[in-house]
Amino acid sequence: MKKPKLATVWCEACAGCHMSFLDLDEGLVDILSQVELTVSPLTDVKDFAFPHVDVGIVEGGVGNQENREVIERLRRQCRLLIAWGDCAVFGGIHTLRNGLSTGEVLRCSYVETAGTVNGVIPCHEDIPPLLDKVLPVNAVVAVDGYVPGCPPAPEVLAYCLKELLAGRLPVLPEEMIHFD
């Protein structure tokens, strides 16, 4: 049987969920023997030009134009989309900026920061523009499974992947649901 394909992407987040994924340690070997990891920060493959993956996993909220495109593309190219971590599930800490306009956010960050002299807001065609608000993934595209946690513990991620391998949508038991 062909190994199912897995893609993971890192949007507006701290990479903590991928770190937690790495914290599976030797468990990772076991999982990689059963799935093929395609696009992922772990493989450093960023090319979406493959035809299809079985499961797409998102870490992070949708905060800029690039995030949005990546998510929409992943959604088109995967059968099941799973949101990992509080940022992807709820929006997370980045939503703190939702009370401000993007102009204010950039000014606060690049011009008004204490210690900044002659700050300039970076502006280049390669820099994706911020969206008005940071949104959870399910506010942009349909999501099939949710794994909250900041970050979800490695064993929770392992549980999620094992459920997927067993052909079930992961629904966390109560003791695994934690927002920290």
Partner: protein, 699 residues
């Protein structure tokens, strides 16, 4: 017949059961051990039925009912859990999360949030409704209570607590619909509102909307699983409120009132800003080592043995040179009965001390010096009578700094059973809440009392000629009302208020007089006599006690007065003092206390948990002790009616002894044989003495 005595038969989750009629479904279910999640419900508050977390299915009806406000009915069939109910509850919860910003950084780390606990329990792993992300203001103007509207779910627990528990009615809902906010007064900031910072709202808040300014960050709080709770008693004022202290790693996290179980106390378990917030603040630099004054005037660390020896030598020297009357012992009113007994015995037997008194004030007892009158005992009413009185006359100040809990209790009574109340004195702490107020100085207050006492006696003669007064009423002197009015420059309004007060008193059935400590300290014996006379006009109360309560500065001021003045001894003289021993406590108001001791003492030793800044230049030996937070002991309340045991909340720093231990060690060095060399013996002795006092009072 009692409502509860009638039973109705209902079926809960398929099980038939008999429950008391008049219960709500929620109460009935909880009696049966069935748990139903709630959010706006709080056992100490009235029901609101607003959050819909507690919905249940009644008789299979298509619309679910909120169990907290639906009474049971005979034959009712209740289902508390099925897929539809869970789905509804979770959806309602998601609305609460989506409505405002609950991306909280603290609760996941501390686990101290009812909203979050419900999200876990109801398996909320994502939101099916879009979040609003509207930003709401944060009110951080208060030093104690922060209000973050972004975390608020508008359950209204705080609004109900503000009215029903603390009697303030400061908090209320403002605006309508999604713009609804909790607000202080007429949309004031917290700091500029009439809020008294009792913190009842903060205690009942199920989220972090109302939060403690100094104990919210999880770096301070840690996770709730590492918390320890200790039931103890707040010693700051004479009400001795029972509290639950939360401690982590020997650090105080929070102090809360016993709100749901507070029903046996008329204050219903609310605390005040002192007991809830001030005691958490670091007060003073901790004294960690015994210190001795060097010949050049500087301080040097010394051993405990050396410090004890120096103390005994120093006090012996003073006594030998000037006699025992030149030795003074001052002790904090925040000391336990055991410490007081130990201190008094040591000062009396080792140095025959001429003055033994409390640090805070030795003069509030001036009123007690009037002694029994006509064989009538001078026994104050229990503070609990404040909740039963129909008229409370406050003479002098109910200080918000010293007696906030008394103010809270009276304010609630004003709202709840239309208590009539009047304040004669410089303070208007109660005034904004429907109280008559005559703003006069303390000494003038007593002058007015003389007038009121006489006028009320005259008024009662007219009205109670038929009923027959319980006690003989006799004006103690003749005062001309017009003279007093002239002397105090009372204007027309003030005169009307004065007549209202007299009329209220005459009309009242169960009046009570509160005496501020500054008034009780007045030397005006005639005025104080008039005060006691006024309290006797309506006879003694049901417990055969005087209808009068003297407000005292500290939690154990009454215990101190009784124990230090044992057998009628007066330890007041401050003249000719040449040396002494002072036992201080960690007191939030310590800085304000003027010890009134001479500058040129031959010897002064201070036993204190903190560095005694005010005595820094006068003391010769400093010995550290554990603070009241770190000491067990028995305390007597405001009226001396009840003695309670309070447990320590924290452990003392390593190597620091309790005060009684230090005093016992001093007794050994002073060659005094004391019966109280163990804690148990000391406790028995203190208990015995307090019982003797209580019996002595009755006879």
């Amino acid at each position: 017949m009692e409502r509860e005595a009638i039973q109705v038969k209902i079926t809960i989750d398929g099980k038939e059961t008999l429950v008391g009629a008049g219960l709500t479904i929620l109460e009935a279910a909880r009696q049966q051990g069935i748990s139903i999640p709630t959010l706006c419900h709080h056992p100490a508050l009235s029901e609101r039925g607003g959050c819909r977390m507690c919905v249940v299915e009644v008789d299979g009806a298509p619309r679910l009912a909120a169990s907290c406000v639906t009474p049971v009915r005979d034959g009712m069939n209740v289902v508390t859990v099925n897929a539809r109910i869970i789905e509804t509850r979770r959806t309602m919860l998601e609305f609460l999360f989506a409505e405002r910003n609950h991306h909280c950084m603290f609760c996941p780390r501390s686990g101290d949030c009812e909203l979050q606990a419900l999200a876990y329990a109801l398996h909320m792993d994502h939101l099916t409704v879009p979040s609003s992300f509207d930003a709401f203001p944060v009110d951080a103007t208060s030093d104690y209570i922060g209000l973050d509207h972004n975390r608020c779910i508008l359950c209204g627990r705080c609004v109900r607590a503000c009215e029903e528990l603390s009697g303030c009615r400061v908090l209320n809902f403002h605006n309508r619909g999604p713009a609804t906010l909790i607000g202080f007064d007429l949309n004031e900031t917290r700091e500029h509102s009439t809020c008294t910072s009792c913190g009842a709202c903060l205690q009942v808040c199920p989220t972090g909307a109302l939060y403690h300014r100094h104990r919210t960050h999880y770096a301070v709080k840690g996770h709730s699983r590492n918390w320890q709770t200790i039931r103890t008693v707040c010693p700051l004022c004479g009400l001795l409120c029972p509290t639950v202290s939360t401690v982590r790693d020997n650090d105080l996290i929070k102090i809360e009132g016993i709100v749901p179980a507070g029903e046996d106390r008329p204050d219903r378990g609310i605390l005040c800003h002192l007991g809830r917030f001030e005691v958490l603040k670091p007060s003073g630099r901790r004294l960690l080592h015994p210190m001795a004054r060097q010949t050049d005037g500087s301080w040097a660390e010394t051993s405990r043995e050396r410090a004890l020896d120096l103390t005994v030598e120093g006090l012996n020297r003073v006594r030998d040179a000037h006699g025992g009357h030149a030795v003074m012992g001052l002790v904090s009113g925040l000391s336990s009965n055991e410490e007081l007994v130990c201190f008094r015995d040591l000062m009396e037997s080792a140095w025959q001390a001429g003055a033994i008194a409390t640090v805070e004030s030795s003069e509030f007892q001036n009123i007690y010096d009037l002694g029994p009158d006509n064989g009538q005992p001078f026994t104050e009413a229990s503070w609990r009578k404040m909740a039963e009185a129909d008229f409370i006359l406050t003479v002098g100040a109910v200080s918000p700094d010293r007696q906030p809990a008394v103010g809270n209790l009276i304010r609630r009574c004003l709202i709840e059973h239309h208590l009539r109340s009047a304040v004669i004195g410089p303070d208007d702490f109660l005034y904004p809440h429907g109280t008559h107020h005559l703003p006069v100085k303390n000494k003038d207050a007593l002058l007015l009392v003389r007038l009121i006492s006489n006028e009320a006696a005259k008024g009662m003669k007219k009205t109670t000629a038929a009923a027959g007064p319980g006690e003989s009423v006799r004006p103690i002197e003749t005062v001309k009302a017009t003279d007093i009015v002239k002397r105090l420059h009372l204007d027309g309004t003030a005169q009307i208020v004065l007549h209202e007060i007299i009329r209220d008193f005459v009309d009242s059935v169960n009046p009570l007089i509160l005496v501020g400590e500054n008034v009780a300290a007045q030397a005006d014996k005639t005025g104080l006599g008039a005060l006691v006379n006024l309290a006797r006009l309506k006879g003694l109360d049901h417990d055969r006690r005087l209808r009068l309560i003297v407000l005292k500065p500290c939690g154990n001021s009454m215990g101190a007065w009784r124990l230090l003045n044992r057998s009628g001894r007066k330890h007041r003289a401050r003249a000719g003092i040449k040396g002494g021993l002072i036992l201080l406590e960690q007191d939030p108001f310590q800085g304000a206390v003027d010890l009134k001791i001479p500058d040129d003492l031959g010897f002064l030793a201070v036993i204190s948990p903190c560095w005694p800044d005010s005595l820094d230049d006068r003391a010769h030996v400093l010995i550290p002790k554990s603070s009241w937070r770190e000491t067990d002991g028995t305390w007597s309340g405001l009226d001396g009616c009840e003695t309670v045991f309070r447990r320590k909340m924290l452990d003392a720093p390593a190597g620091i002894q309790a005060a009684w231990q230090t005093l016992a060690d001093l007794a050994v060095r002073a060659n005094v044989t004391s019966g109280c060399t163990t804690w148990e013996a000391l406790r028995r002795q203190a208990e015995h003495e307090m019982q003797k006092e209580a019996i002595g009072e009755k006879t």
